[in-house]
Subunit: 392 residues, 2 copies
């Protein structure tokens, strides 16, 4: 795997979770420019509040400390003090300033971090740093995720210059448009100015993590960081910037896909495409309502081309449209034409398509040129099981 | 059971469903004033479109014909013609005008009604009419409902005058604030002017059926009818009107409760109470987001007082509030004080309370005098099973 230059990784089992890796560290050899996009939830976890404060200054960033098993959310002043105490200890071990470390937490809300255990584990962690251990950090971020999520991308610029991007993410539950319960860290060895990083990250998130849904819930801890340390020796020129944005969006989209694929209890990934809407916003709103409908998602699980539920979900989205004009397709199979069912033969074919682990649902409104695409998954028994038993 | 005077009932198995009662008829001996409240979904079923047209004229109503097993929604002009053909046949059998019959359908969307079978069954139906068969009609309305839903209320007015109300309903799936997939018919033998009926029904629905949620989906067929035939000989005086509204709201609330209790796969009814909000609208919006959250509903199923999910749902509701002020109670047990958890002992007590089939979740914002109450249920494996296999 092509890892960006100048980043070191380590992970350990600190005991926040009953077992397994739960604490991860990313260190940049040199000061990196950084950007962040955070949850829109009014209830924000301590690490989110701290990170927002750190990124508001122009101070460069050297490290990211991430833990799973405990969200450090709804923990009040004590939660903020816990996080600061941990970051101060790590800073002293790494011989950097606490302000140069970005925190991220995921897990149960309302519980305090086991500060002593974590501080103890930081020693091990800081000694284990290695450029080849990125996957261990991806594992340490996992909560109900069933596999670690990593993507890399090598970008060749004019004149044979090369830079790399690496993305790590965790998802699984509380995944909805407008970010969702997820963490993602994107690292690059390119040198880029901070304003450009922030702008690129915002755009990339809008077209990736904000276009997926697992259960419609939004968390208190959603965080995406982008670090650019310049270790490749390549400073991006203005003419390279479009290429960089494209590569960043691609990495984010591939991570977003992995998050939906690993959605809690998900057995299928469905690409919901709205075309022919009056504008992109209306297309997104319609698509989101369909992609989040429990009745639609259970029908996906049942491999049932129940287009009535799709139309009914659209009808309550708040967007005006003409039902009598709507066409609906499952992959290439048309099941609705001008608002009416195409009959049992078409539905049987669509049912066959839905047996795949991935398929697309295309809805054509024939009203304009607006479009949107949202990734969603089905709703299975397993989702209920995972979330009924989460804390037991 | 105290049935309002002058109403006759019949039900039969017409073959729309594979088995069981699926066609019900309510006949008023004399012309009744009527009111209706319908789905806000843009996609409206044929019976909804027909009924809205009928109620827009001042024509009195004599009958309601209801079927389950087929929603007659997304069936285009043919669906409208099917419904009209059936109503014309019934009108001729009952020797009334087709415009005097209100239709209602519930079941699978996108399938045509089996017109021939239904017309055949109408003969049996019209001969079976009997004042004692209301429960059979409640049974004929059922789709995934597990029990018929009926409520009666006897109202004593000044001077020993008496009137009765009877409510029949079906619910189960696609139940959300703003009506939901449900049918309800309220009958009274009082004499009341149409405008008053419409106003009373709108208010009663707002405070009952619009305050429940099972899965957040809204259907194409939601309908509540109120018929007042005056058979008691009592014309309500202006001073009786408040009493009538109260009785009507009570019947609607009891039916709404039964709908949630019988929510698809529901094992628990939860009364979500928001108090101390800045106004009632904000309280409702917060309560609705909590009551519809999949993560909260699966935690109810798991009997887990996971207040972090409750706060996280509130935080994405779009309503501004101060998390550090929020108190949360399960029945009488406080689990959150000023945004912070009250600890494991409190949670264990709350867990005990959640073992009950019914409990309340009270959220106090301490910001004003706004309040709202919403009935919801838990989300179980069974919901997924029912909705994955609905059409198979």
């Amino acid at each position: 795997m092509e890892i960006p230059k100048g980043f070191w990784f380590a992970a350990t089992a600190s005991g926040i979770k009953k077992e397994g890796l739960d604490l991860g560290l990313i260190l940049s050899e040199r000061p990196a420019e950084a950007a962040g996009v955070f949850t829109t939830n009014i209830v924000k976890a301590a690490p989110v509040l701290l990170a927002q404060k750190r990124l508001a200054t122009a101070c460069p960033i050297r490290a990211i400390l991430v833990n799973s098993g405990c969200a450090n959310a709804c923990t009040g002043k004590e939660g903020l003090a816990d996080a600061e105490e941990i970051l101060a200890r790590l800073a002293s071990l790494l011989e950097i300033a606490p302000e140069e470390i970005l925190p991220a937490s995921t897990g149960v809300i309302g519980q305090r971090l086991p500060v002593t255990k974590i501080k103890e584990a930081l020693k091990t962690l800081s000694k284990a740093l290695d450029p080849q251990r990125a996957e261990e950090v991806a594992r340490a971020m996992m909560t109900t995720d069933t596999f670690p999520k990593m993507e890399t991308k090598r970008l060749c610029l004019a004149g044979g210059r090369e830079i790399s991007l690496l993305g790590l993410a965790k998802g699984a539950g509380m995944i909805a448009p407008r970010m969702a319960t997820m963490l993602a860290f994107i690292l690059t060895d390119a040198a880029l100015p901070r304003e450009f990083l922030q702008e690129s990250l915002r755009e990339a998130v809008e077209n990736s993590f904000n276009r997926i849904t697992v259960d419609g819930d939004t968390s208190t801890n959603d965080t995406v960081y982008l670090l650019a340390n310049g270790a490749s020796g390549q400073t991006l020129k203005p003419e390279d910037q479009a290429l960089f944005k494209e590569a960043l969006t691609e990495v984010c989209q591939r991570l977003a896909y992995l998050i939906v694929k690993d959605g809690e209890g998900a057995t299928k990934v469905v690409r919901v495409r709205l075309v022919g809407a009056r504008d992109d916003q209306e297309a997104f709103r319609l698509g989101k309502t369909v992609a989040e409908s429990l009745l639609v998602k259970t029908a996906f699980f049942g491999e049932d081309p129940n287009w009535g539920r799709i139309l009914a979900a659209m009808g309550r989205s708040g967007v005006d449209f003409t039902p009598e004009r709507v066409d609906i397709f499952i992959n290439g199979v048309q099941i609705v034409e001008n608002g009416l069912g195409k009959g049992l033969t078409a539905e049987r074919k669509a049912h066959e398509e839905m047996k795949n682990k991935e398929f697309s649902l295309t809805i054509h409104l024939k009203e304009g040129n607006g479009s949107a695409e949202i990734l969603t998954c089905d709703l299975s028994y397993e989702y209920v099981k995972i979330n009924a038993e989460y804390r037991t």
